[in-house]
């Protein structure tokens, strides 16, 4: 477990900023204590200083997970967000998409969000903007990337994809073995 390098931090922040914009600073600079990002097994964990200290007691090879896993770096040093980061993305998300109850399940099984399932969308969402997907009851279900702008969403036919699926809470079950 080590702190992120500058490059890694940059890559990660770039990714995060797609979803929560400059709210990242709320993650980095928290009033309720110092929190930090740590790299472990190519995964980025977000944890409080206290947990960090505690985690030092565990040897590196035995440590499975600390704090919250935000995602992992691919071999090509790209950052993949994991669904576990949703807890931190959802409250700070800039752009949101609400999915109708009928399509909730579909989304939770890893499918994209179609126009027909789109219940609500934040205005001025740009194309390929990272969005957090909510159910109509405001329960965060996952996140993805807007395939269409808000304006286009109004127009497109019902079967066209509106949000590309990236991660959903269904992964907690589906990818139980890989999620940390």
């Amino acid at each position: 477990m080590r702190p992120l390098t500058e490059e890694e931090t940059k890559v990660m922040f770039e990714k995060l900023s797609k979803y929560i914009g400059d709210n990242i600073k709320l993650l980095v600079d928290r009033p309720d204590g110092s929190y930090c990002f740590r790299l472990h097994n190519e995964r980025v964990y977000y944890m409080s200083e206290k947990i960090l200290k505690l985690a030092t007691n565990i040897s590196r090879d035995k440590l499975v997970s600390v704090g919250t896993c935000f995602g992992k770096f691919t071999k090509s040093i790209k950052f993949r967000l994991h669904i576990t980061a949703l807890d931190f993305l959802a409250p700070y998300a800039k752009f949101k998409v609400w999915v109708k109850p009928g399509q909730e399940q579909s989304f939770l099984y890893g499918n994209h969000v179609l126009k027909s399932g789109l219940g609500r969308i934040t205005e001025n969402t740009m194309q390929y903007q990272g969005v957090v997907v909510y159910s109509m009851t405001d329960v965060p279900l996952g996140f993805g990337v807007a395939a269409k702008t808000t304006q286009e969403c109004r127009r497109v036919d019902p079967m066209s994809i509106v949000v590309f699926h990236q991660a959903d809470v269904g992964e907690f079950i589906r990818n139980e073995d890989t999620l940390t």
């Binding site: 500058e6 770039e14 990242i24 600079d29 934040t122």
Partner: protein, 1217 residues
């Protein structure tokens, strides 16, 4: 009268002339003179019309005379003219009038003909009795034709070929085809009368089949051909099918909408069925199944389409500031969950709880009965009931005992228990308010509910899960539970946990607790009189509360068990466990109110069992050794010791005589019970007292087991759980102890002890009775105000039974503190208990003092002690004071406050501490620093990522301070402030500088080509040597240039402003807050005073030429300018300083007065100036120069000529070729 035209008149002629002239021939009536004029108005023709009455002769004469005669320069030309049109018109009209007046001649003719025809015998163009073809006499061209009709002979002109000829058509010859259409005569029947066309009906008879319909002109409504899955068609179809269908669809839509709002998952499921249902209902007129199917399909698709449309309409676009309300979501979800239980995987308990119907129990006690009864009433009721219940209970007890006795001791435990259970259960049932008679039930319930208000009651019952469980259920449950308990203790735990859960659903635990407390307090108050009565009767107490009856019964059962146990001593502990479980179950069943607390207790019990087992053994061993030890001996479990001591010696070492008394009484009670004397219930009182006084349990288990029961009975519900818990704990302990203890105990000893105890007990009972009398009075008086003190009284027992605390208090101060520490970690209910304890304590004690009662008399002393403890309890122990103390506490808490691992101050090592602390601090600070640094770094990266400058807080606290509201409009310059000084100077400077900069730039741009390299190198050569080598300078240059390049001057200004602001808001830490603001100011000052400095210093060259070295901004492009700024600024700063130094040095060296003179390009003794004039002077002699020149000239000439020739030659050759 004639009208004459006279032409050729001269223009001058007047009407009178004409009159005169023609007057000779006749009487001139009217002269009409006309002149024609050309365009210019010159008359060229004049003529006139004259109306003259003249005879023909005169006219001729006139004509001959005057015609072509010359008159007044013109030749007259006279002609007769037509009448004037007016005249003619008048005449015509007159004629018409005349004609009108005259009879028409044609009619006359017709009439004449008719007359003549009639004369010839023709009537109405018919001549009867005439042979067709005969001519009508007198009329040649009329012929008689068929039927005697007279018809005219027609002369028809026909043109055949070129010549026309007339054909004579004689109708008589063609008359064969003429039919006679007779006019209907008057006598003809009406039916024969032809109806007018308008009245014709055109009605065609026929069946209902399509063809006949079509014949009739009835065509079915046009249905356009259906195309599958076409939306519009579907919609059309819908429309065509009329309203019901439309409604249907609307309904379904509504369906979809409604659930969407309320519940997430319903709509799809709800929609489909509705659709499917719809068609058959509405489309009853559709015949075939196929049609229906088709329609269904169409409808569904159409519905989808509709939905889609709707969806499109529905697509909401939300602003960025849309607030997500998870709370709402939760709620909705909750609702959904409630609606569909199977939807989420909730605990089975919750499911059970949610499924259960509203508590039926609450209905059983009618509200009229419930309201608070007067004291007298209560007492009366109570007595009655008590009697009843007493009898019952006694009978039951007897039954139990007998059965138990009958049971062979050799029976297996399991079977026994089961049987017991079975037996116990019946006991429980009646006692638990579901007795044989409804009356009893109600009464009991009333008692239980007694003074509690309805709301309280409901609140109480709302917490309860199994409230509505029937008897059979209870039994079953009990059995099951037994089994489970036999197998595993944890199972009971789980069950109890289950029980605990239900309260969640309704009210918060606090509320419930509060309700319970109220309830209990009130109940207690009322119970107190009862108690007195009980004391008198000594029996009835247990029956008071149905809830506790169960426990009592259980106790009884357990008592019997114990009897057996004595026989099978070895099995003690296990049995006890089981018993505990029993209790748990029974209490569960009975004490609905206490389920939660009980469960917690159960947990506790189990835990304690496990924990205490070793301890107790130890204690037992110890006991054997140290009989002489005092009560306050160091052993942690005073209670146990006491017990042991008692048991061992028969008499106790206790200081308090009363206690001893009680205990003895207990023992006697026990004996009685064992003997199954009906009085046995009397035990209740002493046992109660014992419990209250927290006397550490009598020598025998039976007592102990009774104790809890009694405690429970006495104590109002909230204390009850507590007491129960404590009692159960006690039980366990004791029981567990017993098992080992029993072995050493001799039967004789026991007997002796019992006897003594009995005596004491009797005495005590008498005393009690007196006391109770007094008490009664007091309490009745006190009942007037039921509220607070009563509540306190309720807790009395809580406190009394709270053995642990007492023990702790007695044994060890530390322990107390630990217990204090512990309390917060305990479960909620325990927490509340412990909290309650303190006030409860005081209340009880004060009450006791006031009343002087000995209700809990034996415990007085103890309680006093408790009071003291109470006082001291909240003092901070010396060991825990201060930092070290805190640490110690933490150390202790690390072991879960386990008493075994208790640590006193010895464990605190002072020196170590400090070192550690310092180390810790060091390490902590280091870590913190590292973290801080990391954070800063990440923030800076974040900045670079986001591309925004974020003045975030380095620490939130600082920001909170810094983020005080700043009214920008109110911002004004205050010269007295230092911060503002920076503010002031900069604004002016920047503008000037910026202008200067612009100018400079422009100049440079122009200058660059002009400035010769020589000059450049010459002048700046030495300076460059001086400055150019330092790295900082280079960087500086680069930075400056980069800045220049990157930011145009207005941006610079902006930046500057920002920085000024930063400077102004000194306290606001920026991202790069590591830099002190002062530095920043300087930096900013430097950054843009580049030229300004030059101007000021006058060392123009350096600056100028530095700027001209716009080569490569080496680093700046790849680094974020802002980020770079901070670091580079420092360098710049340094650089500046150095620069200044070096400047001064160098300049001092090279020129004596470099800066002051203020010349822009040149300074005195400039090398250029010295070298320049040389260029204007001759270096050599004139002749030489001349010679040189001539030589050169000749050479040049020759060369020229040569070239000329060559050129010519070339030209020639080119021409030739």
């Amino acid at each position: 009268m004639q009208r004459l035209y006279v032409g050729g008149l001269s223009h001058t002629i007047t009407q009178k002339d004409l009159k005169d002239r023609f007057g000779k021939f006749g009487q001139v009536e009217d002269v009409e003179l006309r002149t024609r004029k050309d365009d210019e108005g010159v008359p060229y023709k004049t003529f006139s019309y004259i109306n003259i009455n003249i005879t023909d002769a005169d006219l001729k004469k006139c004509m001959t005379v005057l015609n072509k005669s010359k008159w007044k320069g013109g030749t007259l030309q006279i002609e007769t003219a037509k009448e004037s049109f007016l005249h003619r018109l008048a005449e015509e009209r007159q004629m018409a009038e005349q004609q009108r007046l005259l009879p028409p001649a044609a009619e006359d003719q017709k009439q004449k003909m008719l007359d003549s025809l009639s004369k010839a015998g023709v009537e109405n163009f018919t001549m009867k009795a005439a042979v067709p073809g005969t001519e009508v006499p007198g009329h040649e061209d009329w012929v008689v034709s068929k039927f005697g009709r007279v018809l005219p002979v027609l002369q028809l002109k026909c043109q055949k070929g070129s010549r026309a000829r007339t054909l004579k058509y004689d109708p008589s010859k063609y008359s064969h085809n003429i039919r006679k259409l007779d006019r209907p005569s008057a006598d003809q029947s009406a039916s024969d009368l032809p109806t007018p066309v308008s009245q014709l009906t055109w009605e065609l008879q026929g069946g209902d089949d399509d063809i006949s319909k079509k014949r009739r002109g009835e065509f079915p409504a046009y249905e356009p051909p259906k195309r599958k899955k076409s939306r519009t068609d579907a919609v059309n179809l819908l429309k065509a099918e009329g309203k019901p269908r439309l409604k249907q669809s609307v309904d379904s839509v509504a369906l979809t909408e409604a659930p969407q709002v309320t519940n997430g998952h319903k709509p799809p499921s709800a929609v489909r069925p509705a659709q499917r249902k719809g068609p058959p209902l509405t489309l009853s007129d559709i015949d075939s199944d196929d049609e229906i199917h088709k329609i269904v399909a169409v409808q569904s698709s159409s519905h989808n389409a509709l939905q889609q449309e709707e969806d499109e309409d529905k697509l909401e676009v939300v602003g960025l500031d849309y607030l997500v309300t998870p709370g709402r979501a939760r709620q909705q979800q909750k609702g959904g969950d409630e609606e569909e239980n199977d939807y989420d995987s909730a605990d089975t308990d919750e499911l059970l709880a949610s499924r259960k119907p509203p508590p039926p129990r609450s209905s059983s006690p009618p509200p009229q009965e419930r309201p608070t009864l007067t004291a007298g009433n209560i007492s009366g009721n109570n007595t009655d009931r008590k009697r009843k219940t007493k009898k019952k209970s006694k009978a039951e007890e007897e039954e139990d005992d007998s059965t138990d006795a009958e049971e062979p001791s050799t029976q297996k435990r399991q079977t026994k228990k089961q049987s017991k259970k079975m037996k116990v259960l019946p006991v429980v049932k009646p006692s638990s308010s579901e007795s044989e008679s409804d009356d009893d039930e109600e009464e009991e319930e009333c008692e239980s509910a007694d003074s509690s208000s309805d709301s309280d009651y409901e609140a109480m019952f709302s917490n309860v899960t199994r409230l509505e469980i029937s008897l059979a259920d209870l039994q079953k449950l009990a059995e099951e539970f037994q089994d489970t308990s036999e197998t595993t203790a944890p199972s009971s735990l789980s069950v109890s946990e289950q029980e605990t859960k239900p309260p969640k659903k309704g009210t918060t635990p606090e509320e419930i607790l509060a309700a319970l407390m109220e309830d209990d307090s009130s109940e207690e108050e009322e119970q107190q009189p009862k108690k007195k009565k009980k004391k008198r009767k000594a029996d009835a107490t247990t029956q008071l509360l149905p809830a506790f009856k169960g426990t009592k019964a259980l106790n009884e059962g357990s008592e019997t068990e114990e009897g057996q146990k004595e026989e099978e001593e070895g099995e003690g502990t296990e049995v006890k466990k089981l018993k505990v479980d029993h209790k748990a179950t029974s209490s569960k069943m009975n004490g609905q109110k206490h389920t939660e607390t009980e469960s917690s207790e159960d947990e506790e019990e189990d835990e304690e069992e496990e924990e205490e087992e070793p301890k107790k053994k130890k204690a037992v061993v110890k006991n054997m050794a140290e009989k002489a030890e005092s009560v306050s001996s160091s052993s942690s479990d005073e209670e146990e010791e006491e017990e042991e001591e008692q048991e061992n010696k028969g008499k106790v070492f206790k200081t308090m005589a009363k206690k001893a008394q009680k205990e003895s009484s207990f023992s006697s009670d026990e004996d009685e019970e064992e003997e199954e004397v009906p009085k046995a219930n009397q035990n209740v009182l002493p046992s109660k007292a014992a419990a209250a006084s927290s006397s550490s349990s009598s020598s025998e288990e039976d007592e102990d087991e009774i104790l809890p029961a009694k405690d429970a009975v006495k104590a109002a519900p909230p204390p009850a759980p507590h007491s129960e818990s404590s009692s159960s704990e006690e039980e366990e302990e004791e029981e567990e102890k017993q098992a080992p203890l029993r072995v050493p105990l001799g039967a004789k000893e026991e007997e002796e002890r019992q006897r003594k105890a009995n005596i004491r007990r009797l005495a005590a009972v008498q005393q009690r009775q007196k006391e109770t009398e007094e008490n009664k009075k007091l309490i009745q008086g006190a009942l007037a105000n039921l509220d607070a003190p009563a509540a306190g009284a309720g807790k009395h027992i809580v406190f009394g039974s709270d053995d642990e605390d007492d023990e702790e208090a007695d044994s060890d101060d530390e322990q107390q503190t630990t217990s204090e520490i512990k309390t917060p970690k305990k479960t909620l209910f325990q927490d509340s208990q412990s909290e309650d304890e303190a006030p409860g304590h005081k209340n009880t004690s004060t009450k006791e003092k006031l009343s002087g009662t000995h209700l809990f008399g034996s415990s007085e002393e103890e309680e006093d002690a408790d009071e003291e403890e109470d006082g001291s309890r909240f003092d901070i122990r010396p060991e825990f004071e201060g930092r070290a103390g805190h640490k110690l506490m933490e150390l202790q808490s690390r072991f879960g406050k386990d008493e075994r691992f208790k640590m006193d101050s010895r464990f605190l090592e002072q020196n170590e501490d400090k070192e550690e602390e310092s180390e810790k601090k060091k390490s902590g600070t280091e870590e913190e620093e590292a973290l801080e640094e990391e954070r800063k770094k990440s923030l800076s990266i974040l900045q670079s990522v986001l591309g925004i400058s974020q003045h975030t807080s380095s620490s939130s606290k600082a920001t909170s301070k810094a983020k005080t509201f700043r009214d920008v409009s109110a911002l004004h310059y205050d010269p007295s402030r230092e911060e503002h000084a920076a503010f002031e100077t900069k604004t002016e400077e920047t503008k000037k500088e910026s202008k200067a900069a612009r100018r400079k730039k422009r100049e440079e741009a122009q200058k660059l080509p002009e400035v010769s390299k020589e000059i450049y190198y010459d002048v700046s050569g030495d300076l460059k040597a001086v400055f150019g080598l330092t790295k900082e300078e280079e960087e500086e240059d680069a930075v400056a240039v980069a800045e220049k390049e990157e930011t145009n001057w207005d941006q610079e200004e902006e930046k500057k402003k920002e920085q000024e602001e930063a400077g102004e808001q000194v306290e606001q830490p920026s991202l790069e807050s590591s830099l002190p603001s002062a530095e920043k100011e300087e930096a900013s000052g430097f950054k843009f005073s580049f030229f300004g400095d030059d101007v000021e210093t006058g060392s123009g060259e350096t600056a100028e030429y530095k700027i001209e070295s716009i080569q490569a901004p080496k680093l700046s492009w790849q680094q974020d300018p802002r980020f770079h700024d901070s670091s580079s600024d420092e360098e710049e700063e340094k650089g500046q300083e150095e620069e200044e130094k070096t400047q001064s040095n160098v300049i001092a060296k090279i020129e004596e007065t470099p800066t002051k003179t203020g010349l822009f390009f040149f300074y005195p003794e400039d090398s250029r100036l010295t070298e320049g004039p040389k260029l204007f002077c001759r270096s050599s002699q004139l002749e030489e120069q001349k010679e040189q020149w001539e030589e050169r000239r000749t050479e040049l000439r020759q060369e020229y000529r040569k070239k000329h020739k060559d050129a010519r030659r070339k030209l020639k050759t080119s021409v030739k070729s």
